[in-house]
Amino acid sequence: MATIFEQIQEMGIKQTVITKLDETVERLTVGMNINDIRSALRGDEPRRPNPRLRPHADSFWFHIRPSFYHTEVTHIYPTFRLGWLSTFMFVWETITGIILMVFYTPSPLVAYSNMWNILGNVPLGQLMRNMHRLGAEVMVLVVALHMLRTYITGSYKKPRQFTWATGVILLLFTALLSFSGYLLPWDQLSYWALTVFLSGAEAAPTPPGIDPDVFNGNVLLIAQGGPALGAGGLLRWYLLHVLLLPLLTGIFFFVHYYKVVLYGISLPPGREEIGEDTAKRVPRNERTYFTPDIATNELMWSALTTLFLVAGSLWLWDAPLETHADPVVTPLHVVAPWYLSWSQGWLKLADKTLVIGFIPLLLVAFIVMPYFEVSKSRRYADRRIALTVASLFFTFMLVSNWMGSPEFRVNSSPDREVSIELLPEEGTSAMLGVPYELMPEGTYLPAQPIDGNPHLTYALEEFQAAMYRHSCTLTGNTTWNECSYDESTPIETRKYSNHFSDDVMPDPTAKLIVEEVQPGLKKLTLQYKAFSPANPEEFLIDAEWVKYRHEDSNYETECRFANKSC
């Protein structure tokens, strides 16, 4: 071996440097020198033996990826890039998550103020949080769609049954990852969503011979870290979210992907027989090589997805942050995250032990399905029953989702419903979104026009509209519904204490009172009064709802995303 000095003497300094550089590059890429890379970038045919294949045999990162794909699967159909996108989202969530961890402590004492610190004191902190949160929602959606696609194209069939099984488990982990992160902001939204979720799990059926109270009680204790969610529970869910679940997801991802590479991505239904090995016997003219074609393609999609996620986090939506978690006050109308909305719908349909027992059964059914569904064709025309079942199930899930959504919610008393619409405990509304200086002190009536103040006028119109929705009339006022009132019904057969068949206020009066109680702090009071039809001296409803509004509270900005014209 010539020393470097001999080389310099022989070739001159310039040539020696070039040679050394070339060698270094070849070592780093495990087989491709500068000329090989440039030829790949230029799009030339590779030399023989093909240096672009060597990294797939010898390098760690490239050996995970196949050296070529069947050209049929490189188009948008049939994969829609959903599997790749799921992986991209997992990496995306890992990176944004680790960055957020820098500013987060999993303790009820500081977790919530950490969130405000991220929003108000960390440069681009809100963007980072939005990216993580938006990414989580996108990931759940993408993984679910990936599963749907796999079912529709029949790709779960032999020999890919096990790939499908690991995929179902990955879907479960994705939902759990997303949900376990839900608790971390420690606000009312997260606290009660998780409490509802865990109490549901408490009703799970137990193996025969085991007392469900003891068994589920202890499961709940382990999951909550105490009799109710607290410091222990937050730490447990944080560890699940940042450690255990990502680890398990990673492990199952590699098993899943190993099988994908082993059997190849399934060709479109018409192009592949069941059990055919299309991964290894790809005709030369139907091969698309990883370097440079697939790599370029993936890089382009990475660029586009990044663009979407960054832009979406900036303009589409802000991750919500409600008030501090309060273990003794449940806010009105707790909602599950949208991807669990179906389970809320189911809970309205059947007994919760039944529902909670059904969910794991469904998962097992999904996992073993390919081993039982052994029809011999992947063509759509031959799978009419399977596709019908799929669309029925899909429709059922959509309906369940709708049933679990807030539109299907159960109402509280009418005055409280109006109050919640106008001055909600959490988030913003038409009335809270009125700029502070445009809310002068005084008493206002519903639908009272305020000259030169469109914001307050609009809020008062909303006030009127909300009152109409929850009122009725006994005096023939045509804008309201007639009250169905029967004084003679005995006490115990009345649904509502107010003698009405509907939960409404009869001919109510309402007003909004605005007082400035401190510099920069206004007290907004909604007052409702309705007289008892039986006794005009007595108030049937005499209620009040108070919400404070600070000058700097920023409800106007929140309005931007709440799809409300505040």
Binding site: T296, L304, L521, Y548
Partner: protein, 282 residues
């Protein structure tokens, strides 16, 4: 292939521009969210204050208008918070008198969390057996400190230093001429009658001892003090002596009587002479 390269490049460039835009607006956004966090904390504090604190400190925090849970007006037992001594200056007057060396915010938070030993102010923090979480204490502190305004702090109140002995007070210009008729009016306007009842009707006292006979009874209570001295010191410091004559037996310790009269009467010191003349004249 070339199209993909162009799309990828354009996408990255657009992302960079978007991030650049985000960076440009970031300082303004950060400032906005920093004050928003404070604003929401004050809102939460206002709710807690209304439900827990206003009974003793008054609905406007000035210890003037207090209502019990049934909605009846009662005497305010707490000190005024919406008050110069509480909020203005650094250190404030009250921090000075208590030798508090920390910050104003810590003073307020500590007082809420641990209560004030020896007064009716209870502990509020969960840590010491109260009902509130640390974030709620922070909310209330933010709300209380939000009363500080230029208007409130523009004029320092005149502080009257009460003489040690009642004789010295009565000998001073302020105490020389007591007007019993005016004292009878003050007895109502200062809110004394709310708890001590009508001095003409024995048994009309709701919470505190009846004062119709205090001219005689007062002289017997404490060795070395005449009735005037007993009343004088009891008004200035309700905990100086605890009367055995409340409607339900001996009065509670610490006294339920507001500790604010020394300061309130101090802004108009002749009122003390009028009150003494009224009470002792009966």
């Amino acid at each position: 292939m070339q199209v993909k390269i162009v799309i990828g490049t354009v996408a990255f460039m657009l992302t960079m521009m978007i991030l650049g835009f985000a960076v440009l607006r970031e300082p303004a956004r950060l400032a906005q969210y920093t004050v928003a966090a404070k604003g929401r904390s004050i809102e939460a504090g206002a709710h807690i204050f209304e439900n827990n604190c206003a009974t003793c400190h008054g609905i406007d925090g000035d210890a003037k208008e207090c209502y019990n849970s049934a909605g009846e007006q009662v005497g305010c037992q707490g000190l005024p918070l919406n008050d110069y001594d509480m909020l203005c200056g650094d250190p404030t007057y009250r921090m000075d008198t208590l030798n508090w060396a920390g910050t104003k915010e810590d003073f307020v938070k500590t007082t809420i969390a641990a209560g004030r030993f020896g007064t009716v102010m209870p502990v509020w923090s969960e840590e010491f057996g109260g009902p509130m979480r640390p974030d709620q204490i922070q909310n209330v502190a933010d709300f209380v400190l939000n009363w500080e305004s230029e208007e409130l702090c523009a004029n320092e109140p005149v502080r009257y230093s009460w003489p040690e002995a009642v004789a010295d007070y009565l000998a001073s210009d302020d105490g020389a001429a007591g007007d019993a008729a005016n004292g009878a009016e003050l007895y109502v306007t200062y809110g004394c009658s709310g708890c001590h009842g009508d001095t003409a009707v024995e048994g009309s006292n709701a919470v505190g001892p009846w004062l119709g006979d205090i001219a005689n009874v007062g002289a017997t209570r404490v060795d070395g003090l005449d009735a005037a001295g007993y009343v004088y010191h009891s008004i200035l410091d309700p905990n100086a002596f605890i009367s055995p004559d409340c409607p339900t037996g001996p009065c509670a310790t610490p006294s339920a009587m507001p500790a604010t009269f020394a300061a309130r009467i101090g802004s108009n010191p002749t009122d003390m002479a009028d009150l003494l003349a009224f009470l002792l004249g009966n």
